[in-house]
Subunit: 238 residues, 2 copies
């Protein structure tokens, strides 16, 4: 690990997380994986077993300390998340809202907490929001509000005195639909040429991680991923 750049990938066992682990490994980065289950490709793993946010903080911080010691991180990306729909009259509305808060918002807050302790000066923290959550999401209320809270977290973390290290960058990617096996399974007849390939996301995250703060999009940016005909463009929201 001594001469390698290192990254923590939160949600490293999911489809996007696994793609990120593989990509950073290929680029010769040292990868610390955090998730509910181990990612065997990573250099080290921290497993989350607790059920409450406060217990997860203890678990994550002590696991990372065991792994990193006094070393710092060049990059931290949180690609944990999931999707569940439902409006307020759905019998699953509260259950799904609970799940979305845990999968998207708890993980993002814990990633921010870890970043405040372990991110290098000039390092980068990337979170995962959602393009649809920039507007109202009446058919998937819990999903939208959890992602919207991640967007707000991004803005707070990029502001002065947020607790992140000096000259670090925080960015949040806003996918529309990612081209994952689960999405292919549940939406077999959708136009897959408008879905964003996981490799594109992993490559983008690696580029940002290699860049210095002044080369990256401005800290606090919400960066939309628009894919058309298999081509993806980044668009930074103001």
């Amino acid at each position: 690990m001594s001469n390698m750049k290192n990254i923590l990938i939160y949600g490293a066992r999911g489809a996007l997380g696994s793609a990120c682990v593989s990509h950073f490994k290929k680029q010769n980065w040292w990868v610390l994986a955090v998730d509910l289950a181990e990612n065997p490709e990573a250099n080290a793993n921290v497993l989350i077993k607790s059920q409450t946010l406060i217990d997860q903080e203890n678990e994550v911080l002590s696991g990372i300390e065991s792994s990193l010691g006094s070393k710092k991180l060049h990059a931290l990306v949180c690609v944990a998340g999931g999707w569940a729909g439902g409006n307020a009259s759905s019998k699953d509305f509260i259950k799904n809202t609970d799940l979305m808060l845990k999968q998207s918002l708890w993980t993002s807050c814990l990633a921010a907490r870890v970043a405040s302790k372990y991110l290098n000066d000039g390092g980068i923290l990337v979170l995962t929001g959602a393009q649809p959550a920039l507007d109202a999401t009446p058919g998937m209320i819990g999903y939208g509000l959890a992602k919207s809270a991640v967007h707000h977290l991004t803005k707070s973390l990029a502001a002065p005195k947020s607790g992140l290290p000096e000259s670090s960058t925080v960015l949040t990617i806003l996918p529309v639909t990612l081209d994952t096996p689960m999405n292919r399974k549940f939406m077999p007849n959708a136009d897959h040429s408008t879905w964003t390939p996981l490799d594109f996301v992993a490559t983008t995250l690696h580029s940002w991680s290699e860049q210095s703060s002044d080369q990256r999009p401005k800290s606090g940016s919400l960066v939309s991923l628009f894919t058309k005909g298999g081509e993806t463009k980044l668009e930074t929201n103001q």
Copy 2:
């Protein structure tokens, strides 16, 4: 209760909740209180004892069913909430974020769930956001993201097919600082003439509740409460 208008007040034991219970009682409304502890002035109480969001849903829905039976509500206001600060490097960041999510976001989501089942056509649901959460809140990250999620919930609930009854209104008030005993205790030297009196809020909520949908601010509005020299003005955000 038969000839009286009725309101459910979520967070009825807090400072603002208690002021609302008193005001609506004076106006001859029938008041159902929901909170962790009983409000003896209310006509009926539902107590929350569970620790998880999903268990709280069961508790609230069954308690309300016992109290209302097949009756509907003219109004539902959620004034539950609290305040805790901290940036990402604060040792209390995660603990306080957890608390803010429970106090402000869980209650708002549960109020929305109840509204989808019990609110009258043409009824009103009012939630409580926060003016500072319209921007980044680096010194109180958990508070800001929880309130921001309430703002997003408001937009989703006001959109078509949100699950709320037809022609109902959803509004969210955005206080800056409320003139509560707790705020007086912790900020004794602040300029109290810029704090919003609880009576003003209770009176506003009652006026909206008596109005028809077309007299109220447009559904989905975030309504800021700006107080200066003891005078409060409402300002609707676009």
